[in-house]
């Protein structure tokens, strides 16, 4: 394994020797905090670093070839002061993170697995927060990214950008669309409009994007007035919900409602007898009179489903945090060897992981690796083999990301 680490370290070193000048310097870089994780000192992050001149940043990358490189979304009067409260916060970009780790996808069954360190229970697919058997949070995980995951993250990112333009009025000129180098995308908004927005304000934006707070409001109104008229000509979210409910009742059969949404027997019975009448009623009035004879729990389930058809699963911590560190554009991601790249909206539509590959050498890496995932990046593995000869960039990803035993045998 040591051999693998040395290999990657040298690749990074060489890369930055020739490409340090490609590092994208953020605007007002002298007001930003930088943070790095270096090879051989990986347990520690070097933070509170600031640069006065652009050349110093290039020089740093050339000399230190960091494994991971970050800068603050915030601007500070004194970014180098190690105490957060004394840095003198001046404002922050608004940043969104779409990370496939937080989004259930069908391909996860092929490449993600986990193991409970407490009771030994294990499984494939989406990593649970707690062990479903013993409830322990001590879970060892092994996750990989593939073209399918990135495609899903990409579509959510496009949807997010559309929303930021249509709803919040931002323009593409104010946005940086960035592949994070691993499992997803970042969207940075650099605009005076949001610079001084506090956490409370950012939380409101997050709630809008995720559709949080809708159900509680609807339930409160029902409690107060007995009925909530959900109509297509209402405000943004409500109109979407009204349409989503129509689609649901029109296209999905009772079985789906039972299995996927989990509504109760009583409600199913009601739907069986009244679905057609409900749909006709809606076509006439374009309004649902909630709660539609559903009990509170079933109504919540149905609304949750309608929201999930329209919301965007951003990582809310990233957006709300006004002192976040985020990856430097054009730096390398230490877990994949991929480049963090900025792209246009059109490029995002056409994006594939191939575009981020840096170590695309003609050699192959031969590994001893038992029980690999069946699919990662754009590559299928034969899981019954113990020896794998992989394209160079895939080999690097495996060496950097793998958490269990893997051994380099040769480079051929």
């Amino acid at each position: 394994m040591l051999q693998g680490k040395e290999l990657v370290k040298n690749l990074f070193k060489q890369y930055y020797r020739w490409n340090a000048l490609k590092i994208q310097i953020p605007d007002q870089f002298d007001k930003r905090e930088f943070g790095f994780i270096l090879f051989d000192k990986e347990e520690q992050m070097f933070r509170h670093i600031s640069f006065k001149r652009k050349e110093d940043i290039f020089h740093f990358f050339k000399e230190k070839y960091p494994k991971h490189a970050y800068f603050s979304t915030a601007y500070y009067a004194n970014p180098e002061i190690p105490v957060m409260g004394e840095k003198g916060w001046l404002g922050a970009n608004l940043v969104f993170d779409i990370d496939i780790d937080h989004i259930p996808t069908s391909c996860k069954n092929m490449h993600d697995r986990w193991f409970c360190l407490n009771c030994g229970f294990k499984g494939n697919g989406m990593i649970p927060v707690k062990c479903p058997k013993c409830g322990s949070e001590r879970i060892k995980k092994e996750t990989w990214v593939c073209e399918k995951c990135i495609e899903i993250a990409k579509n959510y990112t496009l949807k997010l950008i559309d929303l930021l333009i249509d709803i919040f009025g931002f323009s593409l000129n104010e946005m940086k669309i960035v592949f994070s180098g691993h499992r997803g995308f970042h969207v940075h908004i650099i605009s005076n409009d949001i610079m001084e927005l506090d956490q409370r304000g950012r939380r409101e934006i997050v709630n809008f994007v995720k559709g949080e707070g809708l159900i509680q409001y609807i339930l409160d109104r029902i409690k107060a007035q007995g009925v909530f008229n959900l109509s297509v000509d209402m405000n943004g979210w409500y109109s979407k919900l009204a349409k989503a409910l129509y689609e649901l009742f029109l296209t999905q059969n009772i079985d789906f409602l039972k299995k996927e949404i989990g509504i109760s027997k009583k409600s199913l019975e009601f739907l069986k007898n009244n679905k057609e009448k409900m749909l006709r009623n809606f076509e006439r009035t374009l309004t649902w009179k909630l709660p539609l004879s559903f009990n509170e729990e079933d109504l919540k389930r149905i609304l949750n489903y309608a929201i999930s058809k329209n919301n965007i699963p951003i990582d809310e911590r990233v957006t709300i945090d006004i002192r976040r560190l985020i990856r430097v554009i054009n730096s390398l991601h230490g877990k994949t060897g991929f480049r963090v790249i900025q792209m246009s909206y059109q490029d995002l539509e056409l994006f594939s992981l191939k575009k981020a590959i840096v170590f695309n050498k003609p050699e192959y890496i031969k590994l001893h690796w038992e029980n690999p995932p069946s699919y990662l990046l754009d590559y299928k593995l034969n899981i019954s083999n113990k020896i794998h000869t992989l394209p160079f960039y895939i080999g690097i990803y495996v060496i950097e990301n793998h958490v269990f035993n893997v051994e380099i045998l040769d480079i051929v």
């Binding site: 927005l197 409101e204 409001y217 405000n235 911590r317």
Partner: protein, 359 residues
Amino acid sequence: MMFVKNVFFTIEDKAKYPFSIDTINYIRELGFEINDLKGEYGRKILRRASKRIISAIERRNIDVKLNEPDIEILSFPTSLLLVKILNDQFLLHIYSIAESKRAGNLLKEETSEKILYIALNTFNLRVKLINNGPYVFMIHFKDYLKNLPEIHGAWSLVNRKISHGMVYISKNEMARLVEEAIKVWIVKKVENMDVENDIEESFAQINYVLNEIRNTWKKYREKYYPTFSISDKDLSTIFPPCIAFLIDKVKAGKNLSHSERFAVATFLLSIGKSVDYVINLFRYMPDYNEEITRYQVEHLAGLRGSRTKYVTFNCNNMRVLNMCKENSLCRNIKHPLQYYYRYGLKKHVARKGISKKSI
């Protein structure tokens, strides 16, 4: 100045909205100075200024007197001066709310054009008059979020019509947002005011009204802000440094962020303090709102909503949220509660000679 059709800002308007840019310009033109408060006319102004504050304390509201507009106008900056000299965060809080309420109630009765005029010229809000059904205005979401009076229900962004950065609102909602802007304006104005130290000694007249206000305030302060029962000594010894820091911040009359509130409230609830205990603490914050606070704290205590009882962040998350204030005792501590059980509780028990159960 932005011109708005059909708006004439009369002398009465200047008296109704004494924070407006028009009034400020008018006062500047009058050339009235602090020393003028010593005269006969000045005494009238001081009396009205003192009345404004006392009424804010006693009735949480301020009436409108338009028979002598100049007095009404000049008494406002004088009130700000008095509040500044009294130097009490809580008084400033109560006063700024009462003044903004006074203006907010008047605004609701005005034409949409006049509200627009004030929003544009005095507060530089990005607002447009659209007169479209229930939506009379649209306002840029940044200005909307900055002046939000409440953070849940109908006010939360997710429940609004919003398009291309503009939030659609009614006339009353616009008046309410401006009301909030007025409150913030007053607090900022007073905080940034420069006053000479000896002003009270050299002005018998000012000293007189200040004592009047002090006497009234003394009676009400305890009622509005009951003394909080955690002593400074307890704070520094039995609570983990992160939580103690936040409680200190509250007691100094500063607002906490959303996650800071969460941390304090869940911590206190976890160690067995009551909902009212937490609410009494939060009363110290300038943006305290009884209804919202009670709702939120009860929610955290598991008395509302999903009935989940929330637990404080662990140390890792505290660090991520920049709320960690690690000290030497924090070694091997992974959760603020752990600190309390390991060190705090013992000290508390030892000092007070009481059993664990009674805390």
